[in-house]
Symmetry: C2
Subunit: 701 residues, 2 copies
């Protein structure tokens, strides 16, 4: 665990000045108005998220079509004219390389825009502060980054980044300020605290899911499953509103694009198409379970390989320049592999009714097209749809096998390089391809059983593979149902997702957890670690505890702050002379001071003698989200030696305490469910004997 | 609030003997085996719930068909022969009356089988102990009660009771014993505690929803929304497994019934049919909102009327006999109203292709049938389906208006009488009828707008009415989507449900909350009451606190127990002479004893001098769920005057404490989220100054 990650503060304490502030402002607030403002903000988050998602999808589609038309042209001509592929390949490599290089540059410009964004959002919702994650430049980098990396031919999806963008809207539009743009207003002051901001981020993420997959319910489930732990029905309500709004705006946009403005039955940005004659039989149950097992194994393999590669990569590729070069190298490799693997397997099919717009002739005869090339050259979304719905003989099993292997490998290599890259679509694609293979083999070897549509197996395979990789199975079930608009297959999807998740969990963690762990983030899981009911808090808490006293000379305080990084300090009455060392106690607990409040006191020179005239809670609350540290301020010697600080009215007089012999199980639950940051361990005399933070709990898991 | 309701104990404390027990048993337990047993139990719960639901549905369908065939015959003959309806009416009244009387008798036999069961399950999941709720006889009474009351012609559904039955399976099959049947085994000891039992009850309820509506995802959402507050993904996992299993078994059963055993695409017991050409337009958005508003208002009106009637009824009808007579009277009224209202409105339609098997001729000409009668005489489920899908001119608007009014009134009167009666289907039926009316009027007055299918409005109306009544909107959205197998209408359904819930909440609470409140149950809502951040714990806690001391004479203990009903007592070191009365303190907190543990100590004569040889945690854990009270045991004078009890090794040494100036907001969250029962208020010296239980928190809401 990396000690530099800090937690968020969800509770602001009961300090004298805050209670005073609450009492002062109690009557001036208008509950109805507050609710209205929140409603408007939520609708606004939904709207902007949908617009962002819509424009990303539009740009990607437009640019891809352009690129594919160009390539297709080039390839057909190149092949027919020269029977030689070198020249067109060089041109394709150059174009893809340029786009991917751009993606790499955007990635190194803002390293928080790298990856799918979901691991970061997960950590954020879990309560870890990641500064810059939601700031404007990161979002810009993500927006353009995902466009160029998808168009550049990487095996990446745009859904993860859309969710990150949604979360960014949630954080950015509701604070009434944007420090990175130097915008400060007086609006929405009431939402400037970690608790409300986090709620908005959750809503934005839900809106992102809703827009990306056309799945409003999945949006809610995602927000719950991914970590909005201490949510309650009020939050559920706002989540629902926000994801509906996003779905609504997106549908409006799509209906406009389709030329039937106002017709609302368009679905989301991804639409996997309807399964017309959906049905299945009891015996297939076993097949679904088996596919779940495969999905879990493949997913676990994916995660393990990716973990090794990422670890290895992070020890070699560190400078910005080498990161960009690495992106370029991977891009070259991906394009080459795609190109040659398409050439290797002969898979010519007669050109039927135009199912897929990316049907290329390549070296096939006239009136035919290359079916293998269609998977490689369509956008991943279209390939998935095609694998679900194309007639059984549309794909050769050899080209599918080859596709699965190659695509699996390049996806493993791609996730984690310095570009913004979603994981959902690549996983779905891999799963759909092997799922379809399963279907083809079943039809081949058990023709008598009449198993029906191969698309069904593609669907189940896709769900299993995705669940095996990311392990958020309830969300995936909902997404697959909502994105196919089909509920008959609910049961197969659920079974395969559950089995895949369980199977995968036998081997390793989900890919998001792996990446968060590699970054040393102390995410707290929902459940206490196994056997926690036999461990006592005293075995895991940190001690000795660095404490403050209610009245202290500035110098002493500065010394303490400069010599430790802790985010908060218990305030105690010092033990009497003869008690020191006895019971390992640090004196009787009186309250708790957050580090940045202490620094703020020194900075504002809120000394003992002028407290009541000058100080008010606003001077502490209004600096949010800035948290100045002691190293950033200059403290004059005058102040240091003559000033006295009195914490009694600023500290939280009622911090949460726990007894040393309380069970870890219970302590963990309390900590996690209520969203605490510090828990003070006190003995029977209310003397401080230890302290528990997120990191202590994380260490024992 | 009724003080006799007790809470459940979700945490067993860290007492010396329990820690000892955990240490002793740590290695003997086999995690894999434990998991397997749980899996089998969960599958078993799902299976039995599905079978129960399936058989209820089957019996109801069979008996109803029989009854309707008989009536139909009778009416046609009666009318054509005598032009006189008196005789057949008398016969119908007699048959319905007999069935309803039986329902009433079952209801008074086990009063916990009365009503839909959902309010009780909700309270149970919230943490309130309702003894007998899950016992065998209650479930039997519910099973037969719902069959006879639906067949008897009451406007009630079978879905609520199915959910109750599912919950009962969860509790009954997993304890390895059934006190009401005098069955005690050694199996499943590990699940005999409130925490695990509650989890199983949640699963059973989810399985019930899944079976009743063919909606596995809704099952999970129901369990979450209805109160499994401190759930975590592990629970989600089991919920999913259980509701899938139930869906699976049900589908098997239905496929067998349909003659295609093994074909799994049958859906649930309710199937509202597919909407073929689903689509809608932006302007309709406003209509959906307006329908949401109507749904909210009608729902609130329903609740308010029902509340008045229930209050009034409960003050007049108290004896068992009068309850049964009341049921009979309502049955008479309902049958008469249905009968005459069907006769009043002439609504003859030509007999087309057989949409509805309950088409009766009555006084219509040959080749025609009475459309109004079809709503009245079909089972409610079929009527709902018909309202969703029948062609626009199938129902007369006048017969719909009349139906809505009459059905609304009889439903209001029926819910709360002494029969088992679900609310979902009646609400859906009312909503579908007025929703269809809206559709008909729109087509009539805005023919140019081309609003499409009237069934769409029936669907939206049904959702809005149900949400306006029961207010569990997310579950309802999911159920409507899963039961229609349609996701295009997701957005209209969500909008109308959300608006209806908000609208309804302006007027009153949901019908389940109303009934729980009337029963004085202290249910804790998810969120702290408004303004809770300005209230301090000291303002709401109970004081003075009755405490025990670590070592006490039996007589003193018995006196304390006999003179108060409290469920637990802080154990303190008594204050020194000169401190008494100072600070209102009761002495330093040392631990906490549950009342039934104290009684158990006395009963087993675990006296001070023979603790360590005789006592083990098992003697306290194994009596679960019995909690003997002091009034039920005889304590000899010998014991009283010479015996001493020592609580130090049995008490929980680390009860949760809170400071008097902590905010109510924070305290409430902790209490609710972690599932506590007692929270002890201590001052800076760790002296007990107050106590907070569920009832104190409930009082301030
Ligand atoms: N005041 C303190 N005195 C002694 N140890 C502390 C104190 N505060 C935290 N710790 C311990 O130091 C370790 C590192 O914690 P860290 O300094 O990151 O805590 P924090 O910054 O207060 O909390 P967080 O990082 O979760 O925001 C943990 O084991 C923690 O228990
Ligand atoms: N030991 C006690 N001494 C004094 N008051 C108590 C004590 N225990 C509970 N109370 C108070 O008595 C009132 C009634 O509570 P009740 O006796 O029902 O609590 P309980 O039975 O311990 O908890 P629950 O009913 O939730 O299981 C509440 O206001 C509660 O705060
Ligand atoms: Mg820290
Ligand atoms: Mg009580």
């Amino acid at each position: 665990v990396n000690l530099t990650w800090e937690s968020m503060n969800f509770h602001q304490g009961q300090s004298h000045y805050r209670m005073d502030y609450l009492a002062r402002t109690a009557n001036s607030e208008n509950r109805f108005l507050a609710c209205l403002i929140k409603l408007l903000l939520v609708l606004w988050i939904g709207t902007t998220t949908a617009l962002a998602a819509f424009s990303i999808e539009f740009l990607i589609r437009y640019l891809s079509n352009f690129k594919y038309a160009f390539f297709s042209n080039l390839l057909s001509h190149g092949i027919t004219r020269f029977r030689d592929l070198t020249n067109p390949l060089a041109l394709i490599l150059a174009i893809n390389g340029a786009l991917c290089g751009l993606a790499g540059l955007l990635g190194v410009w803002k390293h928080l825009s790298v990856g799918s964004g979901i691991p970061h959002i997960k950590a954020y919702l879990n309560g870890i502060k990641i500064s810059g994650l939601m700031c404007f430049s990161t979002l810009v980098s993500k927006y353009y980054g995902v466009i160029v990396s998808v168009v550049g031919g990487f095996p990446v999806g745009k859904e993860g980044p859309m969710i990150h963008l949604g979360a960014g809207m949630g954080a950015g539009l509701t604070q009434g300020m944007a420090p990175s743009l130097n915008i400060y207003t007086n609006f929405f002051r009431q939402f400037r605290n970690d608790l409300d901001k986090r709620e908005f981020v959750g809503m934005g993420a839900a809106a992102g899911v809703s827009a990306a997959f056309g799945a409003p319910i999945s949006g809610i489930i995602f927000a719950i499953e991914e970590g909005l732990s201490h949510f309650n029905p009020t939050t559920l309500f706002w989540l629902l509103i926000c994801s509906c709004q996003s779905f609504f705006v997106l549908n409006l946009g799509k209906s406009y694009e389709n030329g039937s403005f106002g017709d609302m039955s368009n679905g989301g940005l991804i639409n996997f198409g309807k399964f017309s004659d959906a049905s299945y039989q009891t015996v297939e149950f076993l097949i679904f379970v088996a596919m779940g097992v495969c999905g879990g194994c493949f997913g676990a393999l994916f995660n393990q390989l990716n973990k090794w590669i990422t670890t290895y990569r992070s020890s070699f590729i560190q400078s910005k320049k080498s990161k960009v070069f690495h992106v370029l190298a991977i891009s070259l490799a991906v394009t080459n592999l795609a190109y040659y693997s398409m050439m290797v397997v002969p898979d010519c099919k007669p050109r039927a009714k135009d199912f897929n717009p990316y049907q290329m002739q390549l070296y096939c005869n006239d009136g035919e097209y290359h079916a293998g090339a269609a998977i490689w050259f369509a956008t991943p979304e279209n390939s998935v749809k095609d694998l679900f719905h194309a007639p059984v003989n549309n794909y050769n099993s050899s080209s599918l096998i080859e596709f699965v292997i190659v695509y699996f490998l390049i996806s493993v290599f791609t996730y984690g390089i310095s570009i913004s890259s979603g994981l959902f679509i690549p996983s779905l694609l891999i799963g759909a391809a092997w799922g379809r293979l399963v279907g083809i083999f079943l039809q081949l070897y058990f023709p008598a059983m009449n198993f029906g549509d191969v698309g069904k197996y593609a669907l189940v395979g896709a769900s299993a593979q995705l669940a095996g990789t990311v392990r958020i199975y309830i969300t995936i079930c909902c997404i697959m149902m909502e994105a196919t608009g089909n509920l008959t297959y609910a049961y197969p999807i659920i079974i395969s997702c559950v089995v895949a998740t369980c199977m995968g969990n036998l081997f390793n963690e989900g890919i998001y957890e792996i990446h968060n762990n590699l970054a040393g983030m102390p995410l707290l899981a929902w459940t206490p670690p196994k056997g926690a009911d036999k461990v006592q808090v005293s075995e895991i808490c940190a001690r000795p505890v660095i404490c403050l006293q209610r009245r202290m000379r500035v110098k002493e305080v500065v010394d303490i702050l400069e010599n430790c990084p802790h985010g908060g300090f218990p305030v105690v009455d010092p033990p009497e002379e003869d008690e020191i060392g006895v019971n390992q106690s640090h004196g009787r607990l009186r309250g708790f001071m957050l580090r940045h409040h202490v620094v703020q006191m020194i900075l504002a020179a809120h000394l003992e003698d002028k407290m009541d005239e000058e100080v008010s809670w606003e001077s502490y609350a209004n600096v949010y989200p800035t948290q100045t540290d002691i190293y950033e301020i200059y403290v004059s010697d005058m102040l240091k030696f003559t000033g006295y600080l009195d914490f009694s009215k600023i500290m939280d007089p009622a911090p949460t305490t726990v007894k040393p012999h309380q069970s870890l199980d219970y302590c963990y639950q309390q900590f996690r469910m209520v969203g605490m940051r510090h828990m003070i361990v006190v003995n029977d005399l209310f003397d401080v004997v230890g302290i528990v933070t997120r990191k202590d709990l994380y260490r024992v898991t």
